[in-house]
């Protein structure tokens, strides 16, 4: 860095490749002072005058605005506001042709000037030291300052960067022919410019400040040297005149010998460049609270009677400037009017185009002066590969090869030839003996490449969208399947225990079963072994059987006793009263039977009840737990969803799933509970799926496996419950029957015949059944 400064002190500089020396033609305007213009009738103020975004409108049609009043406000860092250049009334806000190479239309504010020129209230600042850097940056942003030399990059962003700045370069080269706006600004307002540089110095604190100026501006050099005399940090670097020395990268190379890597910004090398006019605007904004509402414009060309630099309000239509400088189109049908210089400016489609922040020149050449500006591309012949274009290209490209590839639309080759590094300086086309409009070919190719890239980007996005859709559909499908499975299970569960019909069916089946068994038992009334041979299958039936067996035993005993009784009666009727003992015996047996029956009767219900209670207890406990778990899960899920609520598809999946879950409207508590559990599970599953899409199958299986188990459990227990109830009833019935039988037996033993007795027993049994 020191060596760079040493070289600079010796006024020795580097050079860049190529470059041309087009006729400067600066004498047309550089001897005359900057002329203040009278106010035009109407100003057209485009909302966007720079790279980046446009601000939000603050005014409406019909509003009266004062000079310096902001018309838009910036909500985006890349947006800078525009201000009313003078006081007046807004008559329209509509699209209008703006200063753009392609004749683009943009939203513009039409301001009818009231010629009062009343300012808004301003608060000038006398001492910059009282302001913090933040305040200064904010003021720069609020004043709507964007780069006034090139593309118009918002200045506050450029000055807000905070890494170590080695060089702040002030670009005063003004290498384009004809233009003298910066030249005159430096001559007339060097103090203000230096004030602006000081403010930048405060903001950026660079190691060195270099002012790069071409040697064709002796007066401006003089003025700058005088204004910066006491400041050691600032070096005025007078560089040889050569186009395009004022290009950002070229000037950096001339002053520091550094190359800026393709695709990066100078800030990476610790270099920041600002235009002189921007410095002036900064000092105006900070010290005088004057927003950027006017600028110096060189109105020049030999088609004008009085070419001159003027202070033009932003928004002044070009025809007003031309008429103020005596435009004469020499009877030509079509004349070119160029905004910007002859090398990089663009011809205007209409003269209503307004001056904007980056407009430094309006050029109206005569035919004699610039025939090629009138001829367009008509003079183009074949490229003869002379290589002159490559010799002058400041970026060291091969314009002729670029041209061939551009014509052939060979974009990969264009990329290989580094078309994107072309700075559109026009040096190549300026020298091309075949008059090939090289820059135009490059512009078209660049635009097409950009379009292609955008399309590729779009295609990529579409692909991503498609993939996402596919995934979503898959997920939905999975959810649907799951839902179906669950619905099926819920149905099964409902079948097993839930609906009243189901219970009825169940009980009917059980009753039928019991009946069949009872019949069997009754039929197998072989007197001795019936009780033993009665098949013992289930615990439920055992009580029943016991009762039956007991009854049978009782019956059999009763029979036995009843049978010998008549014989004894007949034999020893007179001697002893055997009937007494018999009846006693029978009574005792009946009592025993009764007691047994009672016992079994009591036992059975107790057992059933106990079982019942146990099971209901455990059931309700389990249910409660499950419920609680489900609730907790649902809560956690909701929380999770709230925290990461971005995947709408999953959300919708969940809702679908949950509605699906609730679809089988089940009256039964258990079914509901099961459904709740299933729902919670499904939610957890969906959540899991979404969060970690890793092992879907496993988790799915798990939940699916778990759920049926639960459901089955509940249904099983309920079935047991039911059958218990049934057996309980059966046992009761059997006990009652047995009791009745025993009673009847006891009664009839005394009075009736044993045969008839049996008959009635039969009948009674039948009736009981």
């Amino acid at each position: 860095m020191e060596s760079i400064i040493n070289r600079i002190n010796q006024q020795k500089f580097w050079s860049f490749h190529g470059g041309v020396h087009p006729p400067e033609q600066k004498t047309l305007t550089n001897q005359k002072p900057i002329k203040p213009l009278s106010l035009p009738e109407q100003l057209i103020i485009p909302l966007q005058q720079h790279i980046g975004r446009q601000g939000d409108l603050l005014v409406q049609v019909g509003d009266h605005v004062l000079k310096g009043q902001p018309l838009t406000k910036s909500t985006n860092p890349m947006a800078v506001p525009v201000h009313a250049p003078t006081s007046g009334t807004i008559t329209a806000i509509k699209h209008s042709v703006i200063a753009h190479p392609s004749g683009l239309s943009e939203l513009c504010i039409f301001l009818n000037v009231d010629h009062q020129d009343t300012w808004v209230e301003r608060t000038p600042c006398n001492d910059v030291a009282t302001l913090t850097n933040q305040e200064i940056v904010k003021k720069i942003a609020d004043a709507g300052i964007s780069g006034m030399g090139g593309a118009g990059f918002p200045t506050h962003i450029k000055v807000d960067t905070k890494p170590d700045i080695n060089f702040l370069i002030i670009n005063a080269a003004e290498c384009e022919p004809y233009i003298t706006a910066d030249d005159l600004l430096m001559c007339e307002h060097s103090e203000s410019i230096v004030d602006g540089i000081k403010i930048l110095n405060k903001l950026l604190n660079p190691a060195f400040i270099l002012i790069g100026i071409e040697d064709n501006k002796p007066k401006a050099i003089e003025a700058l040297k005088k204004a910066t005399a006491g400041i050691e940090k600032i070096h005025v670097c007078v560089v040889p005149t050569e186009y395009p020395a004022g290009g950002e990268k070229q000037l950096i190379q001339i002053l520091t010998g550094k190359e800026i890597k393709s695709g990066t910004l100078p800030i990476k090398e610790g270099i920041i460049m600002q235009n002189v006019a921007t410095c002036y605007a900064i000092s105006e904004a900070i010290l005088h609270d004057t927003p950027l509402i006017q600028r110096v414009v060189t109105v020049t060309g030999q088609a004008l009677e009085k070419p001159q630099n003027v202070w033009a309000l932003l928004g002044t239509p070009v025809h007003y400037l031309l008429s103020q400088c005596g435009f004469d189109n020499q009877g030509m049908e079509k004349t070119p009017v160029i905004m910007g210089g002859p090398m990089m400016g663009f011809s205007l489609p209409t003269d209503t185009v307004p001056v904007i922040k980056t407009t430094n020149c309006i050029l109206a050449p005569s035919y004699k002066e610039m025939p090629s500006a009138f001829e367009g591309n008509s003079a183009e012949v074949e490229c003869i590969r002379c290589g002159q274009c490559a010799d002058v290209c400041p970026t060291n490209l091969l314009p002729q090869e670029l041209q061939w590839s551009a014509k052939a639309k060979d974009y990969p080759q264009l990329n290989k030839l580094n078309l994107s590094d072309c700075i559109d300086c026009g040096a190549c086309a300026y020298v091309c003996p075949s008059h090939i409009p090289l820059v135009q070919y490059y512009r078209i190719a660049k635009a097409e490449i950009r379009q292609q890239q955008q399309q590729e980007l779009k295609a990529e996005k579409a692909k991503a969208r498609f993939e996402a859709r596919k995934q979503r559909l898959e997920k939905e499908k999975r959810a649907r399947e799951l839902k179906h499975k669950k619905a099926a299970e819920a149905r099964k569960a409902a079948m097993n225990k839930a609906t009243p019909e189901a219970t009825e069916a169940k009980s009917a089946v059980a009753a039928a079963l019991a009946r069949v068994k009872a019949k069997k038992a009754a039929n197998q009334k072989s007197p001795s072994s019936s009780a033993i041979s009665a098949p013992v299958e289930t615990t439920e039936n055992q009580d029943n059987k016991k009762a039956q067996v007991a009854a049978a035993i009782a019956r059999a005993k009763a029979k036995k006793q009843a049978k010998p009784a008549p014989e004894i009666d007949a034999k020893e009727n007179a001697k002893v009263e055997p009937s007494n003992t018999d009846s006693k015996k029978a009574k005792i047996a009946a009592a025993v039977a009764k007691a047994k029956a009672k016992k079994s009767q009591e036992k059975a219900p107790i057992q059933g009840q106990e079982q019942n209670q146990e099971q209901t207890d455990s059931l309700s406990l389990a249910d409660k737990k499950a419920n609680a778990i489900a609730k907790a899960k649902a809560k956690a899920l909701a929380k999770k969803q709230a925290s990461s609520n971005n995947d709408s598809s999953t959300a919708s999946d969940l809702t679908i799933a949950s509605t699906a879950e609730s679809e089988p409207a089940i009256d039964e508590k258990d079914a509901k509970k099961a459904a709740v559990i299933a729902k919670a599970k499904a939610k957890a599953l969906a959540k899991k799926n979404k969060e970690s899409n890793t092992d879907n199958k496993v988790s799915e299986k798990n939940t699916v496996n778990v759920e049926p188990r639960k459901v089955q459990n509940t249904s099983e227990t309920s079935t047991i419950n039911d059958t218990n109830n049934i057996s309980d009833k059966d046992a009761k019935k059997a006990a009652i029957i047995a009791k009745a039988k025993a009673k009847a037996l006891a009664k009839k033993k005394l009075a009736t015949q044993s045969v008839s007795e049996e008959k009635t027993m039969h009948e009674q049994e039948k009736g009981a059944k």
Partner: protein, 353 residues
């Protein structure tokens, strides 16, 4: 108000391809004058025939190709080609040689390849080489310098010789080429070649009258005139300096090496520079932008290559002068050389992080 819409840059240095071509043609005038002075009217007549043929041919081909005739017909490229062919041909070559050569150069070597800017080979040299291969007899009817000729050669005599093969007085080309001492004369390069193959040393050979006091009677001055024209072109930036400089340097070095190794059978460096078509080739043929390399480095390489080839052909080849062949060979390699000599674009340095 209607405005003219054009793309930037709106200015131009007002140079054009045709003015460039014209400049090259003008720069050749001193050489042509020297040629006329030392060798008479022959080449001037050939140049005239070639130019007329070229214009007619160009007109026909352009109209067949439906091109913008007015601009391209007068872009000077055809005239330049014709002029070069006229300069190169032997003075006594029959007229049809010129016509065939020019038609071949314009119609085939240039337009069949896509016209100006697309032809890979220098049209003039392609035509010349075609003639050399197809009509070796006619193409070697070299004329001795007027000062060495027995028969006085007027314009009309030359004209009739070219069109009929005989002078007005009935002398044949052979008789015209016979020197005062009765020997049929060839160019110095030719003479050197034949005598060296016959076992004579260079110093013995240069006793021959065609070599004169310096290197070669007449030729040396013609070459000097072309050199002057070439320097003028370089100063006007109409041609790139790299090709001629590296070509001459390369030829100089080659002949120097040859001379130091075998001085007996090697001609001097200056003989190589100032005889034959060396200077014409260096400044007017090799510098043809269409068929040359485009980058500075590439041009240097092409020049070096051409110098080497010319020397090799002159010394070891079957033809006395090798410029035409060397140029064609260089034309062939130019695209490849271009491919490998692309300049490094700004901001694409390897050591930039």
């Amino acid at each position: 108000m209607a405005f003219w819409i054009a793309s930037s840059p709106h200015n131009h240095n007002q140079q054009s391809t045709s003015s460039l071509m014209r400049l090259v043609i003008f720069a050749a005038i001193p050489g042509i004058i020297a040629q006329w002075y030392f060798f008479g009217w022959g080449n001037l007549i050939h140049i005239g025939i070639a130019m007329i043929t070229a214009m007619l041919c160009e007109f026909i081909v352009l109209s067949l190709r439906e091109k913008r005739i007015t601009e391209q017909l007068f872009d000077g490229s055809a005239l330049l080609t014709a002029m070069l062919i006229g300069i190169c041909l032997p003075a006594f070559a029959p007229w049809w040689i010129t016509v065939i050569g020019t038609i071949f150069a314009i119609a085939i070597a240039k337009h069949l390849y896509g016209g100006l800017g697309h032809n890979p080979f220098n049209p003039a040299m392609t035509g010349y080489v075609m003639l050399l291969i197809s009509f070796p007899l006619q193409m070697t009817t070299w004329q001795p310098p007027i000062s060495l000729m027995e028969i006085e050669l007027s314009f009309s005599n030359t004209l009739t010789t070219i069109f009929t093969g005989f002078t007005i007085d009935g002398y044949s080309v052979e008789q015209l080429r016979t020197s005062i001492d009765g020997v049929t004369m060839a160019t110095p390069l030719d003479t050197l070649k034949t005598s060296i193959t016959m076992g004579l040393t260079v110093s013995e050979t240069t006793q021959s009258s065609v070599f004169g006091e310096h290197f070669a009677v007449g030729w040396e001055w013609v070459n000097l005139a072309f050199l002057l024209g070439g320097i003028f072109l370089i100063s006007k930036k109409a041609i790139a300096w790299q090709t001629p400089v590296s070509f001459l340097l390369s030829l100089f070095l080659c002949s120097l090496i040859g001379y130091t190794i075998v001085p007996d059978s090697s001609a001097s460096t200056m003989f190589h520079w100032f005889s034959g078509a060396t200077m014409l080739g260096a400044f007017f043929i090799l510098t043809d932008p269409v068929t040359g390399a485009t980058s500075a480095k590439g041009r240097l390489i092409v020049g070096l290559l051409a110098g080497l080839l010319v020397y090799l052909i002159r010394v070891f080849g079957g033809y006395p002068d090798g410029v035409a062949f060397a140029v064609l060979l260089c034309n062939m390699s130019a695209p490849l050389i271009d491919q490998y000599t692309r300049p490094r674009t700004y901001g694409h340095s390897k050591d930039l992080s």
